[in-house]
Amino acid sequence: MKALRVSVWRGGAEGRFEDFEVPRRGSQTVLDAVTYIQRHLDPTLSYRFACRVGMCGSCAMTVNGKPRWTCRTHVDKVATGGRLQVAPLANLPVVKDLVADMREFFDKWARSRGQFRPTATRNDEFAKVRPDSPARREADAGVECIGCGVCYAACDVVKWNRDYLGPAALNRAWTLVNDERDGAKRERLHAVAGDAGCHACHTMMSCTEHCPKKLSPTRSIAGLKRATLALALGGEP
């Protein structure tokens, strides 16, 4: 098989693409290719990965313009004409080469009150939450998010509005809004409303399109828009 030509981003915010030739193998993933470069061609290449089996989301990068998990992206599917371009995730500061700085992503998660606030103690009965209740179904539809940042990198509103909390943070907030055990609903709805919150979403659906876990932050954000209506109309949620 002809070798693969891989263009890899080197540097920080300023930098350039560097080309490497990687031997093709059967069932090769983009992560395999990047790993080959670092181990055999240039040990100074920085990149992140962990599980390499599509569970942790650490290997998310921009492949030929799209944010993806590199361990779950087969080279055969994306290397048109034997070429690949790999860059760090978009919309985040670059630490070095393929490593993006995820701090603002998680800061926004915290700002949208993406943390569960318990209302019961160990002395109380177990909460009996019906799995088929409408609220629990809504929560379950979004609860598998592992915070990989792909949706954040895909979102143009994140790109154009630096304050925008982003799809993942808002999706998590929605799952908690629907959690009947949670005690911070009012503060959370305040946190996710407004120009930097759910109201800035334009339903482009790039998040839903690219989510490797097939979640739909668009759906969750639409739910937040409805949930914050009372707030917007002058009342309290």
């Binding site: 313009g65 944010p67 895909a154 334009h202 482009m204 790039s206 839903t208 690219h210 668009t218 759906r219």
Partner: protein, 112 residues
């Protein structure tokens, strides 16, 4: 060059909605000023309408009508997604909106 991450229906729906919205917002004052010529009498408005019979103006008019239909259809899509409880078919609304806009554009082109 459109980046590859944007080549899906939802993004196109957004792009059409935004471009049509800005175009209509810019057009509106001109539209009001043109109609306002009637303040000076029917003849003045008639003069303007005769001017607008030019082929280039008629094409621009047709584009605006189609953009209006597109913006309306896209807007109804957003209202459905945002205000109604989520359904899977909401994802296909972009296609329906496009179809509606094309239909209106055709209808207007045929009668003009």
């Amino acid at each position: 060059m459109i980046r590859p991450a944007r080549s899906h229906p939802g993004w196109w729906a957004f792009a059409v909605h935004r471009v049509s919205g800005v175009a209509l917002a810019l057009f509106l004052p001109a539209h009001f000023l043109a109609l306002g010529t009637a303040i000076q009498g029917e003849a003045k408005l008639e003069t303007f309408l005769r001017w607008s019979e030019q082929p280039l103006v008629k094409v621009a008019e047709w584009i605006l009508v189609t953009l209006l239909a597109a913006h309306l259809a896209g807007g109804l899509r957003l209202l459905a997604i945002e205000l109604l409880p989520w359904r899977e078919w909401h994802k296909t609304l972009a296609a329906l909106a496009a179809g509606f806009a094309v239909a209106v554009g055709l209808a207007f082109a045929l009668v003009r």
